[in-house]
């Protein structure tokens, strides 16, 4: 098992370094939180909220980090490989293809991480004081929430990608998920600024826990009902794991019946 993991991660890391340019551009395309940050910092400077400008800078910086740690593209890969027939080769191997896709994502994170660190350094230079160390506890919990968020995103994207076994095009479905993420995760504005009933309604959806939870933990902010938020994240991850597992079984039956 360890040998498999080592071979997969090292080879796919090499594979991802080939695409370092694309990964950099992809990372730069995810700079939207910094634009929202500029807006909210300006609003704070004009006294439109009761928060300090630096608090917004800190929050959106960590929204960016949390998002970067959770980027997935498995819907696209699965959809392509199902259409062009490469999926069949993976089915001929005595190993669940899931591990190929997961290893590719983990290896990509190894290439993306140094780029994130460079961007953080630039940010620190522009906004001294925004990057704080809130202690090992919040950092660990922030990383844990990001990891769970990555897994949830991965299982959602995997389940949607498997729909390519039924549909002609599955990639657009993940875009729909991303729109909900943008609106309800705290990506556009800190969720504590949303009206209380909206916050309450969103709490048991997966979205707030993908961005707001890890970003707030990283920033050392007070997170209400953090335990329950983790529980919701775990339950959603589990649910989408089961959904993807079910779709895998059903999809393979269909693939084996219909071909591709």
């Amino acid at each position: 098992m360890l040998r498999k993991a080592a071979a997969f991660l090292s080879v796919y890391y090499a594979h991802m370094t080939v695409y370092r340019g694309e990964i950099l551009f992809w990372l730069l395309s995810g700079l939207a939180p910094f634009f929202f940050m500029a807006i909210w910092v300006e609003a704070a400077r004009h006294g439109l909220t009761d928060r300090e400008p630096l608090a917004f800078a800190r929050y959106f910086l960590f929204i960016f980090v949390a998002r970067q740690l959770q980027v997935v593209w498995v819907t696209w890969t699965l959809s392509e490989e199902i259409k062009n027939g490469l999926f069949a080769f993976k089915l001929l191997q005595p190993l669940d293809p899931f591990w190929h896709y997961l290893a590719q994502h983990l290896a990509e994170r190894g290439v993306r991480l140094p780029m994130i660190l460079v961007l953080l350094a630039v940010f620190l230079w522009l906004y001294p004081g925004a990057l704080v160390f809130s202690g090992w506890g919040p950092l660990f919990l922030g990383l844990l929430a990001s990891l769970l968020g990555f897994l949830l995103n991965f299982f959602v994207a995997y389940a949607l990608g498997l729909l390519a076994l039924w549909l002609e095009e599955a990639t657009d479905l993940y875009e729909a998920w991303y729109v909900f993420f943008m609106l309800f995760s705290g990506y556009l504005a800190p969720l504590d600024l949303y009206p209380a009933p909206v916050r309450e309604a969103l709490f048991w959806t997966p979205f707030p826990h993908l961005a707001y939870l890890p970003a707030s933990l990283f920033a050392g902010a007070q997170v209400e009902r953090a335990g329950l938020a983790f529980l919701a994240l775990i339950l959603w991850t589990l649910l989408f794991y089961l959904v993807s597992h079910w779709l895998w079984k059903r999809g393979l039956k269909r693939f084996s019946a219909m071909g591709a």
Binding site: K4, V18, Y19, P94, L95, A257
Partner: protein, 327 residues
């Protein structure tokens, strides 16, 4: 015991039909119609351990569908497939570790990385011990003359080198049963020959069973003593190459070199004209009238040289398919 069993294998696809244009699109959306396409119908054969069998048929005959059923990628609609005692569609790891499928038109190598990286992944997947892996890579690279290119990105390799590398990746785990679907597709003569030699050597050294489809009859002639022919999803022939020719090509080819060219009309009086180029001509003559035809040719034409040979296998098979002579 047979290594591969196809017992009345049948595969029927249900395909949606769509008329062109806007109306067709609307109808397709609201009242979709389906039609059933029989890709393979009641195909039965068995392969013994160590056999190399050619699997022939024109495009759309059902060859690839049959291979996909035997490798477990497709469920049969009816009938039974069994490979090495396993039901292929169960895709048990113990089964998958003993088979391979090579498709000449699909690549499993990682495009941007050296061949060795794909091999490393495969070695890990198939749990090949490190020393064994190195030895197999060395041996395969030597046989395929790939030693110098294993560290080059796949995209930089020639088509022939890529196909050889595909074979390396597909056979690294030493499968007992090889399903090869057009492995020499698009390759030049030298690369085709290298691939054929490699498959033959591998099969001999490992006692592997091979089911090979190819449009290049040279592949079949070089590798297979037995051929299975399917046409429109049905088994047409299963037997030796010579028996195939005797049954479907009851002709001999008469090659002529004349001192002065003869017009095709005159040549047609002796047999079917396959080629007439200046003083050189090739005729197909039925075996039963061969003696009489040769005697007439020698008497009536200014013959400088005459040879009687078996017709090329592709001509014989091509005629079978063109004439639709399904048994």
């Amino acid at each position: 015991m047979s290594v591969v069993v196809a017992d009345r294998l049948t595969k029927v696809y249900r395909v949606a039909e769509k008329a062109p244009g806007f109306a067709g699109t609307l109808r397709h959306f609201f009242a979709r119609r389906y039609k059933e396409i029989v890709a393979v119908k009641d195909v039965s054969f068995e392969l013994e351990e160590g056999e190399i069998v050619g699997f022939l048929g024109p495009n759309g005959a059902g060859k690839t569908t049959t291979l996909k059923m035997l490798t477990g990628l497709l469920y049969p609609t009816a009938g039974r497939a069994e490979v090495l005692g396993f039901r292929p569609q169960d895709r048990k790891p113990a089964f998958l570790k003993q088979i391979t499928l090579v498709m000449g038109n699909k690549a499993q190598l990682l495009w941007d990385l050296p061949v060795l990286d794909t091999l490393r992944i495969n070695a890990a997947i198939y749990e090949i011990p490190e020393a064994e892996y190195r030895e197999r890579v060395r041996r395969f690279a030597e046989l395929l003359e790939l030693e110098d290119v294993l560290t080059q990105p796949v995209r930089k390799l020639s088509l022939g080198q890529r196909m050889k590398a595909e074979l390396m990746a597909a056979l690294l785990h030493h499968p007992r049963v090889l399903f090869l679907d057009e492995p020499t597709l698009g390759l030049d003569v030298n690369a085709q020959s290298a691939v054929r030699d490699f498959v033959r050597t591998y099969a001999r050294e490992n006692g592997a069973t091979v089911l090979l489809t190819s449009h290049y009859m040279a592949d079949i002639e070089a590798l297979a003593e037995r051929v299975i022919v399917i046409h429109e999803g049905r088994l047409l022939f299963d037997g030796g190459l010579k028996a195939l020719l005797a049954r479907f090509a009851p002709y001999k080819e008469v090659r002529l070199e004349l001192s002065t060219p003869a017009d095709p009309g005159t040549l047609a009086g002796f047999g079917e004209v396959v080629e007439a180029r200046g003083p050189v001509a090739r005729l197909l003559v039925e075996k039963t009238r061969l003696t009489e035809a040769v005697a007439r040719i020698l008497a009536e034409l200014p013959v400088r040289d005459l040879a009687v040979e078996e017709p090329p296998l592709e001509d014989a098979i091509g005629r079978v398919f063109r004439e639709g002579r399904v048994a």
